[in-house]
Amino acid sequence: MLRRLISVFRSSDPLREMGENFAEMLGIAQELSLRAGKIFFAGKEAPDERTWIYDQDVRVNQLERQIRKQVIAHLSLSGQTLDLPYCLLLISLVKDVERIGDYSKNLTEIGDFYTGPLPDDELVAELGEIRNGVESTFKGLAQLLGRSDEEAALVLIQQGKELLRRCDSLIARAAQSSLDAAATVAVVLGTRYYKRIGGHVLNILSSVVMPLHKVDYYDEVSLPPELKTRG
């Protein structure tokens, strides 16, 4: 009991604690998306790996609720409006991270109805490139978020938007393809989930370049003029 009391006295900065929780959440979500991609593309049953993914998704959800509670407690207790934008930003971003966790989980669930490796054709090759692009954008996000590198974020947003366009195009091509129904569904769902994961990564990236009220709107028209020219 004494240890608990001392630990409360040792805590120092509520905002930093929220930030640390967010960083943990984002790190888990990235790992989830990487592992889910491996399961999806390998087409093998991986029960242990899937259990790990489910457990970690629960952790992501817990962190989301924890951060929301911390934000409400901080704003209520401190009575400070100075931290309001940061707190609202976190509330918005945790939803994106939580969705990444969910879509990663969904990616592994495709194996429930489509067993075996995906067909070795240009559609799956294209999906593999999208996967690499999404994973690399996620990696870039990890590098720049802490230092708010607007220029690097803008480059990643442009790349990400291109990936999302490729997802739409791939789904249209899959619909016209000669793949069997199960393979088509697997490819379309995989593409769809990667599009969503990529979209949520872009939402988080948009927080680096956009004012709070425009977060999630990463279309070029919504960018501030000074960044539009750089893009």
Partner: protein
Amino acid sequence: MKHKSPPVPPARRATALRSLVRAAAVVVLLFTFLLGVNGLSEGFRSLGGDLVQFFFDATENPFVGLMVGILATSLMQSSSVTTSMIVAMVAAPENPLPIANAVPMVMGANIGTTVTNMIVSMAHMARREEFRRAFGVATCHDFFNLMAVVVFLPLELLTGYLQRTATALSSLLTGMGGMEYESPIKGALKAGLEPITYLIGLVVPSDQGVGVVLVLLSGAMIFTALLLLVRNLRLVLQTRIEVLVSGAFGQHAVVAMLLGVVVTAIVQSSSITTSLLVPLAGAGIITLERAFPITIGANIGTTVTALMAALAATGVNAAAGISIALVHLLFNLSGTLLIYPVERIREVPLAAARWLANTVAESRRWAIIYVAAFFYGLPAVFALLNNVLK
């Protein structure tokens, strides 16, 4: 890859100069507060027996004393102000308020202080469920104190156990020599009071007149200094308070209670602690059951102010001042020991709070009627009736 969060806004670190100014302000306000307590004692002495006798006669009836405590604290929204004034009156070198009269007043102050968080909870009125949760947490403090008074006031009237124990403890403390020592603070307080009394004496010719002005001025000093002190301490210790209060959520009840004591002792106001819980309860961050031990802790922590006032009191009745401050502490400790440990007993104030919260959530006018009647109407009517029926 180690992830990072969006850059955390820079902490609002006070500059060294600002910290110094705030620290100096705390010292000055504390001195003014203690000066007010001493001034009130001194003023009581100068008032003369006839004038104070009316007040003593009225508060001889313990229920009137209780109502006076409730009304005075509800109006000032601070039990620390009321109890410090009571300490000053009890510690007055001449014409002191008898401890027996002061005990119900202290109990009343405990009830009256709960009005602040009730008012805070009204901010949630527009959203029914939020209001239900917020009001429940606000009102559990009332029911806890009410229950403690229902049990301990008759017990005190029958046995005088609070007064006896407090007097014994106070004798023990003064017997240890600590209180006999003429501390530099006491010397400074005496020195600070002399020019004030002298200046009043220049304007007001009679001794009684000086007493009246000194009582009023001291009351104003206690109220203002404590108000500003609480505000300043809250500003200085904002992050620490936040960390401690939010750290109390989900802790073992004893830890939560201790954190309630600490937070209240450092900000010198139970209303601050309990009022912080109300919006959190409204938002569903903390439940009634979790807020309850913090509230009880705040009840104990608030006794620090009166103790501080008592320790600075000077004169022949200084020990009596310590006794009444200890009565406040013992009463709250007794209430905690009676109500909290046994679940069935603990459920009584909680169930009452839930019932009232449900009632006011269904028909919100009852919240206003309850606050107006319980904290202001009932004590006023009771005091009036007592006066008329005499």
